[in-house]
Symmetry: D2
């Protein structure tokens, strides 16, 4: 059994990690830690867990938590890095949900997050935890920067086309829409029920930080620098991200596109590409799948790609567990093999 | 492995059965049958199942389906009974989601469903599939009438009080609210998105058929005839039932109430009673739990009970699987041990 | 033109008052005052008003505001009473949205609000602003305690039956469900989108303050003391209250019930009673109407009444304007004669 | 008073027309006609209108209806044209909600609607009813093709930039999201509550008919042929369209963009452009406004424009009434001067 702990257990991602880990047959929960709610039971905060997981929350003490095999950290960016650094030095595997260990370059991090990277020396040891791109490195790293939700959905939609050179890399636009759980559990008037319900809006237009993550990973695939437009929107639902991506095609060969997707994801357990049907949010919400469909617009020589994930699962907690499975040599689908809820 | 089949697999309850059975470690799917969609794959109808369950739907042929250990039937009341009768005579265990085998008396059935019972001779062999009331009979029956969603939520709220004589049996009122999936997947203008969304309504006031099921079971517990008010309402959400029940108390002893609940549900794996916190829908949706809380109104000498379930799980598919586990001697929680989604 | 002002203009009720007053042909806005946002424009807080109403918010200074004919006060209970007292002494008509001037007895107020009434001497001058019960007094008062949202919906459902003696006054139960705007705009974690959406819950069970308002008004009608059960619930929608009320009937004469309703509301511009159809929220949301339907349960000798209002209109801002119209001798429907939105 | 009639009164657009016309001070309703529900009262179909508008529906008989000054036709495309042709020949002004009279070229119509245009000879007399582009022609025409909902929102976002040559016309992408009322009231399984709620999807990708309308009008403005990408999505809300539009800029001069918008909409009563704030759906839903904001992405040399409307008002019924006001020489804002609902 893998001894797993969660630091920052009381946010939505922490809760989702716990919900999924409870059903993982090879995991036992070692510690749940929280800066704000130590001494409370997790089931007092999330009554859905009552009778299922009534573990008491601890303070965030790396020395105590370090008896874990793996620690999932869901702390604010920059300020959480000290804890991560200690856990790492104490020998734990750390899967971090923040942005701190997603970047190759501390300069890019500083440019988008407006702070100096707190532990740039660790970036040489960390890996970007998107299994579809970095599975081998994930196996061999003890510090995994779990990707952002928007970025997972966007990168998976575009990676095969970027890698294969089938699209004009100067024309990429990603128009993404996310459920509100992506914003976390915080006292922001813009997140009150009556403000979100029955409405819809764009936010962070031209400036959202996930842009830089997508650019980093697609640039690596293309072996050249890519910049792109990324526009997030807030959906009046709890879960799910749908990204609609646009690019000018370098080809008129529809089969080449089909092959690019099929080859890229041939052995992937959690990516499904459909050459016809466009996926909807309800096809993935509740599951760890990313589903992708596309339409070729011959009239304009463009492609439109639709990709969907559950932002809390493949976009956060599920992907973190997938990384854990890879790292610990378990079947990658273990504990994650559930269909979407549909209803 | 138990060979399980679903007849009427394409409705919401059929889909939910399949979703849950796919994760049940001791079940393999034998047949999926449907009157309307034979030859299609179930994953064409529910794309959320693509790559996970792509079984082809069959016509409803009892002779072929009868090689199953258990058949879950989700067919319209009355018209589905012929199929059930054949499956039963061919030796299968049948767990029926319709109202046909929930009643002791064919007269009560006729009174509320306005048709003659299609197979009254089978009622001697069938059992009302509410484990908390009839676990022993369920073990020994091959024909289980799986309870209605509203009835499960209502009976579990009131059973301990009725059994213990703590409430005035002439004063019971149940005000219940259900998500829209309870209405099934049918072309009814009242179920279009724009009609349900942002609205709320009562329906079937004084006439809803589940009234008779609740009265039957509570009357059995009280050993006298009970009639009661039951009012269902339609919530603009997909899943979940919350029932608010009212009765005049025969006692002022709050501990007697606490003891009645604690004793009644002492060993129940899926019923949780809280003596303080009132449960919310999000504490159970996605799980097989029924959660119950209550407030004693000393000013009026009344009790108000709040009970919640997921209508598609504890109110239908989950309870059916719980019945299967009981019937086949498996751990009752097997395949059903997941926490609510919360978000 | 009536010069109208709003104190506490930035909450949902203040915003709704402004939205409705902007379309009132006989009103001009004099002052918008706010404790927290003075010097901002109201349209900075509610961008929906940009270009339509860009008035700058003022501090709450009764001396300046008193040049208004009528002031709508939407302040917290108790703490707002000082402002109201000053405005009243300076000669304004005041229509108060808080609970402070809804009660006859300061003792009842203290019992339910847990504070001494801040200005009990004014209760002799104030009137409970439910036009259907107190229209004549409203004409002659300068201090109107605008009723609560739940109370409006509940009292209107029951008043004709209570007045006519057709129901057993010891058996009244009101099970009410409200949209989330009724909770106001405040940083309460229980009101975040992801907590309310897809869920449903009861709250304030046996203790909600509106109980006392309903009891006061129905007791006046019955000319005896009435106590009753009132249970509020939170709907995952923005607007609307539906109350399902229960009582044991003293009669089996369905026509007597019909006549009681028809006579009581014969000349009411904003109450509609249907003797058949039960109203749904979408039949009133966006309008100032209260719609009422009922079912007689002959089997049990009970009546079930369903009443609906828009909590921000007939339950707050619309009713306040109706009171203003009455007070100033304008056509009662002026500025309020819009149908519900339906979609 | 203008005598106005509605043909096809029972759909959502017909209902919305009636709701708005009831509050228009210079309109009286002459006829409500419907193919399917003649002899019923409109308030039987939409109980929200009970007591407010109980007019009986008539069959669709142009000879009888022709005593109207203006007829709003909300019939299916192609099949409704015969009725429109007769009404037109009988001297009425006709404002048609279908696509039939939106096109200059019957060939373009045929290409996108896959039928021969039923009355091409009338296209010489009809005008595209977007006041911001064709106000003068609307004054002088008796046959107004009221624009589509998506097209209104999209054209208004882009027109100033296209007209002024500030964007590269080969790079336009419109990613649009609409509430479900845009799909009308029809028995489509994809529109059931449980299918739409909590989900989100793209549809009609690369093929949606509104593409051709947008291209026609922007091409006219540019005086050259424009093709563009248009992707509609279905939001789990009732009302509202938000379009996110993308184009490569021909300029780096932000003031030129500001001036282009300000000049183009200087005198428009229902278009508001913000040079900073991006509009949200709740800023317009319930109103006839189109609100526009934009962000210049200097890093990429692109512009991102966000535009919002209420699809049933500025996108259908409100715009039709605005056209009526223009045509009949009334104040253009008459009957349409309400702020958005916000909550």
């Amino acid at each position: 059994m893998i001894k797993a702990s969660i630091v920052g257990a009381t946010g939505y991602v922490g809760m989702e990690l716990l919900r999924l880990l409870k059903n993982h047959p090879q995991v036992e929960i070692a510690h749940l830690a929280s800066h704000g709610n130590a001494e409370e039971k997790i089931s007092d905060i999330y009554p859905s867990l009552k009778g299922i997981c009534d573990i008491k929350l601890e303070t965030v003490d790396p020395a105590k938590i370090a008896d874990s095999d793996v620690v999932f950290t869901a702390l604010p960016y920059a300020t959480g890095a000290e804890t991560i650094s200690k856990l790492y030095s104490l020998g734990c595997a750390v899967i971090d949900m923040s942005a701190d260990f997603r970047y190759i370059s501390p300069e890019v991090y500083k440019q988008w997050y407006a702070v100096e990277h707190p532990h740039p020396e660790l970036l040489a040891h960390s890996v970007y935890g998107l299994p579809e791109l970095h599975r081998e490195k994930i196996k061999n790293s003890r510090l995994i920067g779990n990707p952002g939700c928007y970025t997972t959905c966007s990168i998976l939609a575009l990676a095969p086309l970027v890698k294969s050179g089938l699209i004009d890399l100067n024309t990429i636009i990603i128009d993404a829409k996310s459920g509100t759980s992506g914003a976390g559990r915080k006292p922001d008037a813009a997140l009150y029920f009556c403000e979100v319900n029955d409405s819809f809006k764009a936010y962070g237009v031209t400036t959202h930080r996930h842009t830089s993550e997508i650019e980093q990973e697609l640039s690596l695939l293309a072996n050249r620098n890519i910049v792109l437009s990324f526009t997030p929107h807030l959906l009046p639902i709890n879960r799910g991200i749908l990204a609609t991506s646009y690019a000018v095609l370098n080809t008129t060969d529809v089969n080449a596109i089909k092959d690019a997707y099929d080859n890229f994801y041939a052995d992937e357990p959690f990516v499904q590409v459909s050459h016809g049907l466009l996926p909807e949010l309800k096809h993935v919400v509740g599951s760890n799948y990313c589903k992708i469909g596309y339409a070729v617009d011959k009239r304009l020589g463009r492609i439109v790609i639709v990709s969907v994930i559950d932002n809390l699962i493949k976009g956060a907690a599920g992907q973190a567990i997938q990384n854990m499975n890879i790292k610990f040599g378990i079947d990658e689908k273990c504990g994650l093999d559930m269909p979407a809820w549909y209803i």
